[in-house]
Amino acid sequence: MAKGFDIRRQTGFATIAMACFVILYLPIVLLVVYSFNAGTSVAIWEGFSWRWYVSAWDNDQVQAATVRSLVIAFWATLIATTCAVLAALATTRQGSFRGYTLIFAMINQPLMVPEIVTAVALLIFFAMIKVATGYTGLFYLIIAHSAFCLPFAYMPIRARLQGMDLSLEHAAMDLYGTPWRVFRRVTLPQLWPGILAGAMLAFVISLDDVVITEFVKSAGQDTLPTYMLGQLRRVVTPEVNAISTALLAISVVMVMGFFFLSRTKK
């Protein structure tokens, strides 16, 4: 029998693969390495030191931005995940209905509409509300983040629901479980890994957003990424590397958690 097309046997495959990995990961490795630089340069190595981590930790602005980032990510994750659970239930447990594709597209809209468009639209929309109400708190950022985190939370939850045996819910209903009790006693316990995976993904996505945050934030509402962006416009010190490395660590942990959870079987 012919082996069929095997990409790994094509000439140059190994070279291209290596090149891709180098381009992807070398900059990140350098970023991490230079976060430990003893000097002030992000390009010239002057020995190992924790000084930029200490300096970032002691920086009031960094502290405030970190707290803000976490608060926004927390609430956005909570809201987006809750909505995602409801949306996933509605799109997998109701059978097919008219307008299903439309609903599906609308839930995933943030993945398809260019982020800059959403950002500008939100900027204008929130500006109108700000003028009308005078309120300029974090709420706008939380809502904006919830919106674009939704599809990221939705996808793993929906995947989990689709993989779940519908006959379990039927069995629970057959045994006198009202819809709410069936959900709580049978659906939810099995959905947890999906929900956690979705929440982690949403959290990471919220944590590293720049574009929408930059447009929506009011004065003095820098998150960690927008603060870093602001820093880059002035002097670049390895402090930025240190913050990036910390963010990277959080993201890696979360994404690993996500893969682990989405792999576990019921």
Partner: protein, 357 residues
């Protein structure tokens, strides 16, 4: 007890509408082991789901002790199901699975515990009460599914091919066990199977279904000995079909003329058939090669197949039809015929059933 009256179910999906149940009417009695038997896709599961409440019938009524069930959601129907896939809750132990229905009914916890213990005892699963459902064998899962459905003491238990996933030996054991449970609990069982032998050995009454319709309802003997139509005769057991001429019917008896010209008396169909060409069904073990009283059908022995307990004789009748006889083997005596012999198939009076179509 359960009255199913003129129930139809038409699925309207993306494709053409599909009639899964076509005007089905049946009354299932209290305390009965009632079996729905039929080939794959004939609508057995659909009918069960209509009773359980997972499918709304397109037309018709389902009543339990006079109460209309159709408007009630599944969780308000005093009916429990043993699903074909068992559908045990994987995140609960055996005991928690069995307790589930009682908890949903908000029974006091002492009562739940007592009933669960009793159920574990009944299905002989007490030593495994605290195991996860993934840590027990297929047969044990089946017993847990049964116990879970029985625990809330439903008025009716619906069983959708609960034994089909089990191996032969376990299936035999479980058949006896199911019969025992049914008589011990006094609960009405509605049992779905496509295994005719299972249906014959276990049921009080059988409904034979085909293409969304109940073709015949009766006790196992009745269905086997007096099939009403070709489909039923063919689906249950082995049958010889002879094209004969119906001369007259009188009550239960029909006078016919066999292809050989001989006239004889056989059983008439219940709902009456006009004289003329009809089909006669004869079970292989009801005819004889040894002569005796009755109508004779001469032919040539074409094949002899030995089966241990009995022997099958394939006879080519004069006129072309093939007739299969089955005779029980007696110890020590050899069968006295060999292939190519001229033989005579004899139908004793009253053997054979005229079919309605």
């Amino acid at each position: 007890m359960i009255e199913i009256a003129n129930v139809s179910k038409i699925f309207t999906g993306r494709g053409a509408p599909f009639t899964a149940l076509d005007d089905v009417s049946v009354t299932i009695r209290e305390n009965e082991f009632f079996t729905l038997l039929g080939p794959s896709g004939c609508g057995k599961t659909t009918l069960l789901r209509v009773i359980a409440g997972f499918i709304d019938p397109t037309h018709g009524a389902v009543k339990l002790e006079g109460q209309d069930l159709v408007k009630l959601p599944p969780y308000r129907r005093p009916v429990n199901t043993v699903f074909q896939s068992y559908a045990l809750f994987p995140h609960m132990t055996v005991a928690q699975n069995i307790a589930f229905g009682l908890e949903m009914l908000d029974k006091p916890s002492a009562e739940i515990k007592a009933t669960v213990d009793q159920m574990l005892e009944l299905v002989r699963m007490t030593p495994m009460a605290d195991r996860k459902t993934s840590e027990i064998s297929g047969g044990q899962q089946q017993r847990v599914a049964l116990a879970r459905a029985l625990a809330p003491r439903p008025k009716v238990l619906l069983l959708d091919e609960p034994l089909s996933a089990l191996d032969f030996k376990l299936r035999k054991d479980m058949q006896l066990e199911l019969k025992r449970l049914q008589s011990e609990t006094g609960i009405t069982f509605v049992f779905v199977t496509h295994d005719q032998e299972e249906a014959l050995t276990m049921s009080d009454r059988i409904a034979v279904m085909n293409a969304g319709d109940i073709r015949q309802i009766g006790g196992p003997r009745d269905i086997y000995d007096h099939p009403a139509e070709r489909f039923v005769a063919d689906f249950i057991g082995d049958t010889n079909f002879l094209e004969v001429e119906l001369l007259a019917t009188e009550g239960e008896t029909a006078r016919i003329r066999l292809p050989s010209g001989v006239e004889t008396e056989v059983r008439a169909p219940r709902d009456g058939v006009a004289p003329g060409p009809v089909t006669l069904a004869v079970r292989p073990e009801h005819a004889s090669l040894s002569g005796g009283d009755g109508a004779a059908l001469p032919g040539t022995l074409a094949n002899v197949v030995y089966f241990g307990t009995d022997t099958h004789f394939h006879v080519d009748l004069d006129g072309g039809a093939r007739f299969v006889l089955r005779q029980q083997n007696q110890p020590g005596t050899a069968q006295g015929w060999s292939v190519g012999d001229a033989v005579t198939v004899t139908l004793a009076p009253g053997v054979g059933q005229v079919l309605r179509d």
